[in-house]
Subunit: 339 residues, 3 copies
């Protein structure tokens, strides 16, 4: 399977990693995750090298994992430290380990060359840490589609009018012009819709009724992190020039982790500049997002099914594809460079 | 997939095609069907040429279909008439259309060369339109088997004693001799069972108790329409010579539409010469047919499963196969002639 | 599919073979089983050579089977004795038959060369027939795993501490040393755990509370019969030397029948030297075994899934594999010798 390997992917919510064995499939590899007695997260290949039983079927004993079939014990470095019934441990009795880190309420895993793992390269969002901003955690949405189909979607502000008419889009409007540019880290795409109807989200959370200026900035980071900075201000109050005084603003953050070539998890959370201390507002936003992301899921799973059975034929390219196409080229180049 | 393409197949019950988008898979192609504001049936390839999303996921707006992902609009001729965010419509932004027609309460679709579509060639049954005859519509039975396995079955009067002992067959009898002959349009197979026990159907609807003369004429039209003319008369009253005065007679009509190479729909209806104005009698017949066709479905799906895993070995040919074998040869010749 | 064919496999519980048609898949072949009017068990290939319909969909009429599609009749020798609608029976209208025998409450089938079938070679257990011993029949456990993965398991006393901690194993103990030796008929593996904690089973059925001597003898007969002789005696009373006066002893018998290359049935029963006349004790033992065998099923189905997707990589061999490896070599040799 062709994935960017030298990258940090999200393996779990930090809050869901406990003193128990958790199996997760990432880039096609089965991984077992747990925390040590000191709370340090650990990830091992989830397969006993003896009979292939997933280690997650076994037991967490102290900081070691004991296989559920014959009792082989592996420490958190992946070394077999005990084999029942024999004194000499075979030298190849080891399982692969993966560098992990904890940031933004997430457990991050490095699936590539361990020597290249550098925690300082993990994505961070300044507003996540700043006073006046409220954070809410969403779900780990499972989507039966190639994560690149989600990346296409997350480079593409123009789908919201059609896929999310009641929440994030403004039905009947086609929004403003979309522009984009490549960056070292990926692709930035944006759209301003000036003097426009407020979307459902802005009506619900900002009490906007009159004309508004609204924006969407889609930051698509390689290989699979999308940060959508979107918001709404009263029309003509200078939002495009930077005056966000009366604006509501949300960072919708998607951390995509490929599971297989045709499925992935979308760990999503969001950061808002209003009602920062009121969890009910955070949950209210999450409820709107759940509606919207379920709409994306239907579309993307349908497309995956059609791609799987596509026997050739006409494919039409549109202007709105350019941003996603640039992102895919960057992914391809990175995979080639790793090879 | 090898199918006869230059032919009219049934795509839907006419009554089920409305002002909404209906997806149907026919000869392996996904088609979206709808009626225009004037009630004209329209069929388009159910796949947006941009991202492959099924158009049936989108919206019917006037006489056009709008894709549910990016809002491309296609008219009923399959031409893209609008692309949000750009003025120039790519010339290859088109979807295939299919000729349609409405007859016998059914929507007919032409999957082949549109220039060859001729509505006058659509199958018709005179009695369907005649006074004194009652029509009742059945179901669109889905069968997970090659439609040709159904055609075999529908060239074959001799299976009814074994598969349909309580309804259409007479258990313990083997019926009369089967004869058949090839015709331009397919194969006609028939059997008279003289001086025989009435079948369950004849007891239920004709109050026959004594010996009867009964007939089955199986008309198998290419590529996949079967009309079974069957009936019962008191024994010795001259039915074989054409005197049907005291006979009950039913045309059981099967319009088969291949979905894939190993699945199909059987749209069935029937036309009777008794109780023409009493819908309860029509429904009573349908109930008997539902029992019988469910019996066929079990047999044919079993056979499909066995065919799928058949690793070679003995196949026994019988005299009763000759009619179905002739029909299959005609189908093969037609497919070759089309290629 | 590579199986040992010249061998007796279990096809059914004797009590479940009646005057009806029973379909069973054995070594990848579909077989239909029934008893004649005289109670003789019969097995035919479960596929009509005409249209491939499973004969088990048809009817048992006297000592013959009538196909459910066109009424072909086969006798218990597999010969077609009637074809409706024609006088001459095609000479190739035959189905394969299989030698059968009834022993130990089981129906045994010979899947190989019929000329080599010798009923005297069917496995027997002396204690099954002896006074003072109680027999109880278990289930036909279906496991979605290669039967050889079960054989591995049944050559391997050392898994019980980890897979069956509450029933057959002693958690926290690793048991005594395992020894094994090849025999003409397969492999014998055993382990004595002296001066040890009684296992849950011994506590439940033998009221053992103090230290005990316990044994496991695993007799793995080719191709797929495992007899586990296990028991418990008060420590130091001479059990290893043969004094079983105060011991409880059970023969746990597994008759494995491959269904496909990756699934099988495990017909299991057991024979005990205590409470011989009390069926409740037999059922109590079965309940313990059901817990234990369900634990094996989880492990073995997991391993089969991992084997199916194993893309290569490190496999660690342990001392405890030697017995199972010897058994697999014997199976391979037998399959090669048959070819």
């Amino acid at each position: 399977m062709a994935f960017v390997r030298n990258a940090w992917y999200v393996a779990s919510w930090a809050s869901e990693l406990e003193r128990s064995l958790k199996r997760q499939t990432i880039l096609g590899e089965d991984v077992v995750l747990f925390r040590t007695q000191d709370g340090i997260p650990v990830a091992l290949r989830d397969r006993c090298p003896h009979r292939l039983l997933p280690l997650s079927r076994g037991a967490l004993i102290g900081d070691t994992v004991r296989c559920g079939y014959h009792g082989l014990v592996f420490d958190s470095a992946g070394t077999c430290v005990h084999v029942p019934g024999q004194d000499v441990i075979p030298p190849n009795a080891r399982v692969k380990t993966y560098p992990l880190a904890e940031r933004l309420g997430l457990i991050w895993i490095w699936m590539g060359d361990p020597d290249k793992a550098d925690e300082t390269e993990i994505y961070d969002l300044a507003e996540y840490h700043q006073p006046g901003w409220g954070v809410a955690y969403g779900d780990a949405l499972h989507v039966k589609a190639d994560y690149l189909l989600l990346c296409d979607n997350l480079c593409d502000p123009s789908h919201v009018e059609y896929v999310h008419p009641t929440t994030l889009g403004s039905p009947g409007s086609e929004g403003g012009a979309v522009t984009f540019e490549g960056r070292d880290w990926g692709v930035a795409t944006n759209r301003w819709s000036l003097e426009s109807e407020p979307i459902g989200f802005a009506k619900a959370f900002g009490n906007f009724a009159d004309r508004v200026d609204r924006w969407q900035y889609y930051y698509m980071y390689m290989p699979s992190i999308a940060i959508i900075d979107f918001g709404t201000a009263p029309a003509g109050t200078g939002a495009p020039e930077g005056n966000l005084e009366n604006a509501i603003r949300v960072f919708s953050c998607h951390f995509l982790t490929p599971e297989t070539e045709t499925s992935c998890h979308d760990y999503w959370l969001h950061v808002r500049n209003f009602g920062a201390d009121d969890p009910a507002i955070g949950e209210g936003i999450s409820e709107q997002f759940r509606i919207a992301f379920a709409e994306d899921k239907v579309v993307l799973e349908d497309i995956q099914r059609e791609e799987d059975r596509f026997e050739g034929g006409i494919r039409v390219g549109l202007d709105l594809d350019a941003s996603a196409a640039l992102f895919r080229r960057k992914i391809d180049q990175t995979i080639k460079a790793e090879a």
